[in-house]
Amino acid sequence: MPDIRDLKEKARKLRIDILETIANAGSGHPGGSLSCVEILIGLYFYKLRHKPQDPGWAERDRFIMSKGHASAALYATLAACGYFPKEELKNYRKLGSMLQGHVYSGVPGVEFSTGALGEGLSVANGMALGAKIKKKDFKVFCLLGDGEMQEGQVWEAAMTAAQHKLDNLCAIVDFNGVQQNEPVSNIKNEEPVAAKLNDFGWNVLDIDGHDIGSVIKALDSSGSVKEKPTFIVARTIKGKGVSFMEGNPKWHGKAPNKEELSKALEEIKREKI
């Protein structure tokens, strides 16, 4: 088993990097970046087979960040892994920077550019199907937002993955319950989302997405059910770790100012783990 305490400490550091990166850029998406921190830590510091010094390693597991607006979270994770110097985060969203506003494949470690919601799961399916055709044993992981589950393409892709028995695929939804303007349930209610995915033919795990131990256990059990893709419904809190951001749609796509940043960092640094 990995050192859970160490992973929690990494999560704390990642939240700090995310907020500093977004505040420095003056724009970005803190809410949905903070909600997926434990998921990204579980993937990049535990589950994924990858080599930060060799991003193109042919046998690497593939990760598609379908919720491409949470780019600060992925970029900060990749920097923490050593794909590129952390200094680079200061150029996030700046003219000429590789760190484009939405997840961009020009960044070492980024598999695929995303940002138009609803499109990533089909891509992950294609990679998983391609692995089977080419008899490769890499796994494919895909992180979606709950808001983007309103896109019809996600459900087309959900049918495809089950139909083609893609048991080398694990999708995770960062179910923070809040989208840009309102709670998800006020707009297009997706519940009971786990039951729906189950009915679509997936192996479904419904977990606390901020509990690193649960995230790791769920990631490990993906692929254990043969001939079925796995969907992890990770219950999370939008803006997790910053009291004034938590559950507040206002912080979907707004950068904190200097004062808000220092208040947020203080809370995160103070949190007991």
Binding site: A116, E119, S122, G126, M127, G152
Partner: protein
């Protein structure tokens, strides 16, 4: 959205056999795709449940393990193909040209922004598809596909060219849109001349005007040129099989040497071949120009020939356009 099969008629290779010396471009594609599958094990085919109509079924029969019918889900097909391409495979995705409109956003971000090696096959293009009516008549696809960065756009004139283009695009790294027709069209190209992306072919010489056409309108243009010759007007006919990247040099040469240009396409007047040619002329070599195309309207049910007549896509319309362009040249009214 793909509900256009009802009136497909016969299903086999004979389905689109027309008079002697003609064949549908979709048939040329379907046969070439099988050959390609034999030569290259990385070719995979995705279908939107229309493989009988698109002729992708020839590939399906020989390579069932590399064929996937993903159902009536164009966005998902486009996205899945993108993922497949990133594992080193070369997916050909096949549906009706009209239904790919549903996947435009996926072509934009997933396929083109990510420079995915995906080959998009859109059959049953244009008003020529006939009785299924407006919803099945793709008249906007050249415009939609051409505007996307990294995309190449091809519309072959006959089945020979469709077959050659099918093989050629497997060797091009990046997204390509190949526009094909349902009905048999006369052979007008040289079977043995290699297909070169972005390099137009002059099918008939002439210096009074140049007709630049693609797809089914190439044979109409040759008919028009024949008719014009009886009135001592020598019209050049250029087969602009690649709409993007368009052959700027050939267009400029035609404008300089003939001074009057007519474009002909089974597509909307906005954003297709005519717009591409006009853009080259305006920036490089202005000349009087007329456009034969569907005039910003949806189609309707009817036989292909009847529709081309009603919507002004026949040789007679091209002849009138050539005369008009020449008269503008002579009047100096550019």
């Amino acid at each position: 959205m793909a509900d256009g099969k009802g009136s497909e008629g016969s299903k086999g290779p004979a389905g689109s056999k027309g008079p002697e010396g003609s064949k549908a471009t979709r048939d040329g594609f379907g046969e070439a795709l099988v050959q390609l599958g034999r030569e290259n094990k990385d070719i995979v085919v995705l279908s939107g449940d229309l493989e009988d109509s698109t002729r992708a079924e020839y590939f399906k029969k020989e390579f069932p393990e590399r064929f996937f019918n993903l159902g009536i889900a164009e966005e998902d097909i486009a996205g899945t193909a993108a993922g497949l391409s990133k594992t080193g495979l070369i997916p050909f995705i096949c549906s009706f040209a009209a239904f790919w409109a549903n996947a435009f956003g996926v072509f934009r971000v997933t396929v083109c922004y990510n420079k995915c090696n995906v080959k998009i096959i859109g059959t049953h293009c244009g008003i020529s598809v006939g009785p299924d009516g407006a919803t099945a008549q793709a008249l906007e696809d050249l415009a939609a596909m051409s505007v996307l960065p990294n995309m190449s756009v091809i519309c072959p004139a006959d089945a020979y060219e469709a077959a050659k283009a099918t093989k050629a695009i497997a060797g091009i790294d990046g997204p390509v849109y190949l526009r094909l027709g349902r009905e048999a069209v006369p052979f007008v190209t040289d079977k043995d001349k290699p297909f070169v992306l972005g390099k137009a072919d002059v099918l008939r010489k002439g210096d009074d005007a140049a007709i630049i056409a693609c797809g089914v309108m190439v044979s109409e243009s040759l008919k028009a040129a024949e008719g014009l010759s009886r009135e001592r007007i020598n019209a050049r006919v250029i087969n602009m099989h690649t709409i993007k990247p368009v052959d700027r040099a050939e267009i400029t040469r035609a404008a300089k040497e003939t001074g009057a240009i007519v474009t002909a396409e089974d597509h909307q007047i906005n954003g297709g071949l005519g717009s591409a040619v006009a853009g080259v002329l305006a920036r490089g070599c202005p000349a009087p120009m007329e456009m034969v195309a569907v005039r910003d309207t949806f189609g309707e049910s009817g036989e292909g020939e009847e529709l081309r007549e009603k919507y002004g896509l026949k040789a007679v319309d091209i002849i009138a356009a050539v005369k008009k362009a020449i008269s503008r040249k002579n009047n100096g009214k550019n």
